[in-house]
Amino acid sequence: MNIKIVEKSFDPWGEIQSFQNSSPEMRGKYGATSIFVGTMRDFNDGDEVKGMMLEHYSGMTEKKLADIITAAMQKWSIIDVLVVHRIGDVFPDDAIVLVAVWSSHRGDAFDTSRYIMEALKSTVPFWKKELLVSNNERWVDKNTDGYKV
């Protein structure tokens, strides 16, 4: 597994390519790659948002992500996982999070990707503070339930 917490904007597609290029042992083994990219919106809760500051609990963040990925790898048949998450100042259209999962078959890749993402959203210590177009600032109270329609 590879977990990266990054302070500068990142290219999720470049990260995936780079991870695959640096993992020659995976070649020919994976038949499925499931990719989730979370991107910053310019609106939230009826307001226009122009920026966001992402804080985290360094150390616990990486520990919780490793725990989540380890649990997923015990549950599903996975070849490897890459998680990249932004901290610091983020702007609309910036990638916030990448979860990429490689497995032999699609079911394991899809299920693991969803599991990691939902666990990340509900348990990994990151916090978002939004800067609105009105110049007001506010902490995001809580994440939405990903399974609710």
């Binding site: 979370g38 804080e55 609990y57 993402m117 959203k121 990994v124 210590p125 109270d141």
Partner: protein
């Protein structure tokens, strides 16, 4: 016994500090720690606690050199 207490996000702002050291002699739970650092404020339902970077319940008993953290619901991703 000496521990470090850390605060994050909106809690850090409302406490006006990000961390502090506490020294005490009797056995303390995380709830006791909260009472001390918050000056007896009730624990809001949504406040989370971690000890040494693992989530704990508020009745967890703290040991010497532990790192206790309090923070609001997480909002990453």
């Amino acid at each position: 016994m000496s521990i470090k207490v850390r605060y994050f996000a909106s809690l850090k702002e409302s406490f006006g500090r990000s961390e502090e050291e506490l020294v005490f002699t009797k056995t303390m739970s995380v709830a006791d720690i909260w009472k001390q650092v918050s000056k007896d404020k009730d624990i809001a339902d949504n406040i989370l606690a971690a000890v040494n970077m693992d989530y704990v319940q508020f009745d967890y008993l703290v040991k010497d050199a532990d790192e206790v953290a309090f923070f609001p619901p997480v909002t990453g991703g």
